[in-house]
């Protein structure tokens, strides 16, 4: 029944493509406005309209933005990288145990852990700050990293556990008979076949932690705050003239890493989310 193949300019095709184009525009135009504005001079912004091309393309907004949030950018890197790596690794180990080395009550344990995925940020603020205080980690980067790791474990464990559930148990049994121990099986057999789900975890956790504002504003103070908090402080300054080009450039700087991570690892993200059984 392929004789009546749909041509791209048929009415239904036009409707579909038209809708998709509108949807693209809805998402992309704000980005375009930000980009255009960030390269305009303050005079330009005052005289032109939002979508007009800059009269003179200038990087001054970007330089000024980097001057004010650059230090916080590195704070965010220092918070995000260890938190993402640690939560992914521990999540992988958790998932490995919960799928391949089930123990009495492991299903209940997993169920309770899943509950963590649905906990709103606000509910953990007080208990977490209390705990950090007891640990002597209040208002430190380490403390903030710890909060991110613990909060992220529910998600990373869920990802890895479900991924490993589709791996045949016989693989682990074969490795045990071959003489491999708990960590050898994990490191040599399961981790090498986990690339798609590792990527999913990395992207997910990176986006969550990099974009986090609430934990950052609560658990970090002063110079140790992440870029999201710095951006907020910059934009909400009530003194002097509003420098929209600087605001926009700073927002772009804050948003670029997550964009970059998705562009680089995005293909694994889709593959990992849709991965079925892994067969030998």
């Amino acid at each position: 029944m392929n004789s009546h193949r749909l041509r791209w300019f048929s009415p239904s095709r036009l409707a579909i493509h038209g809708t998709l184009l509108v949807a693209c525009a809805v998402y992309l135009i704000p980005l375009l406005v930000m980009l255009l504005t960030s390269f305009k001079s303050p005079d330009d912004i005052r005289t032109g309209n939002l979508l007009s091309w800059p009269e003179v393309v200038t990087g001054i907004g970007w330089f000024k933005a980097w001057d004010s949030v650059g230090g916080y950018f590195w704070n965010s890197v220092k918070i995000t990288v260890p938190a993402v790596l640690a939560s992914t690794l521990i999540g992988a180990l958790n998932g490995y145990v919960l799928s391949m080395w089930r123990f009495r009550g492991s299903q209940l344990f997993f169920g309770l852990l899943l509950f963590g995925c649905f906990l709103p940020f606000q509910t953990v603020l007080l208990p977490a700050s209390f705990t950090l205080g007891k640990l002597g980690l209040a208002s430190t980067t380490t403390g903030l990293v710890l909060v991110h790791i613990v909060y992220g474990l529910a998600f990373t464990t869920l990802f890895f556990r479900n991924y490993y559930c589709s791996v045949p148990q016989a693989l682990v049994q074969a490795a045990r008979l071959d003489g491999a121990g708990f960590f050898t099986i994990f490191g040599r057999i399961l981790l090498p076949m986990s690339l798609p789900i590792i990527m999913v975890c990395l992207i997910w956790q990176f986006t969550q932690i990099w974009n986090d504002f609430l934990f950052g504003v609560v658990f970090a103070s002063g110079d140790a705050q992440p870029i999201t908090v710095a951006l907020n402080n910059l934009v909400n300054t009530s003194t002097g003239v509003k420098e929209y080009n600087v605001d926009m450039a700073a927002a772009m700087i804050a948003g670029l890493p997550t964009l970059l991570v998705y562009v680089v690892a995005g293909k694994y993200f889709l593959r990992g989310l849709t991965a079925g059984a892994v067969k030998g």
Binding site: A170, Q173, A174, A175, R176, L177, A180, G181, K279, G280
Partner: protein, 377 residues
């Protein structure tokens, strides 16, 4: 190679649950090929996992060369296993799959290379060593899985339904290869299958299992010719043994089983205790033990029956008739000419007919021998 002995092995999963394995007693000598056969859920795979150490037993002993290994972890038991799903490590090449167990045991690289080469030559998979499992066909994966087991030269090999994922033709080929391999290497092997042909053709000893109990343990011939009960008799043999309900009566000073084809009646002399007279028993007759009646009398009891269905299989002609209200399959020579509706003269050898208790399925005419005491003559 080693001698394997299971003594009173029990396995239960929870205190409230029924036993999965009940008092398993089996023993095979070094170099022997043991088949565990039975329907799904009979506990044969559980028993194999217990031998491998993947599951712990709840009671009893597993002895290898007289040493109890039931408390050891799998890696210390020196046992290799071929899995039904092959369980090849997907991210490793064939070479690394075979070498994995040797690397874990920290053999020198030269010894590993040598062993991989030996196994690859043995299984004719040398040209596949660089490939990943996903690039292999089912039969090739099967070979690699066997190679991985062979490479470690363990004391005992376990095969868990290794052929069930292959297509019919390849299955027959690999069956012959496994047999050849065993004849050459003389490895002590335990092989789990639900396929009775594999059980008959491969095994030195066969243990037929049902509901966690070994129904019979013996050579394939003993299992086939002298089954302990109706379950074993029905499980082994294709087409399966005919089970015909019949009355036992006393005629001319002899115990006779009465057969009725609707056209004719006949009495079959059988051996059974006095207490069975007048009661209904089950006659067990294999399809090939029913022959076409010959013109010259050979003294065997004969009965005429109406042909209901014929199934020419090539080497045989399967003819179905009704005796005592039960459909009975007869395996006749392919050149027998008969049409549906014909009357066919059939003869049975009473000496080969088996008698079963209609209630319990136990044999009436078989001396109660404890299965584990049966040995190859």
């Amino acid at each position: 190679m080693a001698r394997l002995e299971l003594r009173n092995v029990n396995k239960r999963y929870g205190s409230g649950l029924p036993d999965t394995l009940k008092s398993i007693d089996l023993a095979i000598d070094s170099g022997e090929f043991l088949i565990l056969v039975g329907p799904s859920g009979c506990g044969k795979s559980t028993l194999m996992n217990c031998i491998a150490g993947l599951e712990e037993i709840s009671g009893g002993e597993i002895l290898v060369d007289g040493v109890d290994i039931s408390g050891m972890s799998p890696k210390d038991r020196d046992i290799a296993m071929v899995f039904q799903s092959y369980a090849l490590y997907p991210t490793m090449s064939v070479r690394d799959n075979i070498a994995f167990g040797l690397k874990i045991r920290k053999l020198p690289q030269a010894a590993i290379d040598e062993e991989v080469a030996r196994v690859a030559r043995l299984l004719q998979i040398e040209h596949l060593l660089g490939r990943k499992p996903a690039q292999l066909s089912g039969g090739q994966q099967q070979r690699v899985a066997m190679g991985r087991a062979l490479a470690r030269r363990p004391r005992i090999y376990l095969f868990d339904e290794p052929l069930s994922n292959l297509d019919a033709k390849l299955r027959v080929e690999m069956r012959t290869e496994i047999k050849l391999m065993h004849q050459r290497l003389k490895t002590t092997t335990v092989y789990v299958t639900h396929d009775q042909i594999e059980a008959m053709t491969l095994g030195d000893k066969v243990a037929v299992m049902k509901d966690g109990i070994v129904q019979q343990f013996g050579t394939p011939q003993q299992i086939y010719n002298d089954p302990a009960n109706q379950f074993v008799a029905s499980f082994i043999g294709s087409p399966p043994m005919n089970f015909i309900p019949a009355q036992l009566v006393r005629q001319e000073g002899q115990t006779m089983a009465l057969l009725d084809s609707g056209q004719e009646r006949c009495a079959l002399p059988v051996t059974a205790g006095e207490e069975w007279l007048g009661r209904e028993v089950i006659l067990g007759i294999r399809p090939e033990q029913i022959i076409q009646g010959s013109a010259q009398g050979n003294g065997l009891p004969a009965i005429t029956a109406q042909v209901e269905v014929t199934e020419p299989t090539g080497p045989d002609l399967l003819v179905f008739v009704t005796l005592n209200g039960t459909k009975v399959c007869c395996r006749l020579a392919p050149d027998v000419r008969c049409q549906i509706g014909d009357s066919l003269r059939l003869q049975l050898d009473p000496a080969r007919v088996l008698l079963f208790d209609a209630g319990t399925g136990e044999r009436l005419d078989r001396a109660a021998v404890a299965p584990q005491h049966e040995h190859v003559a």
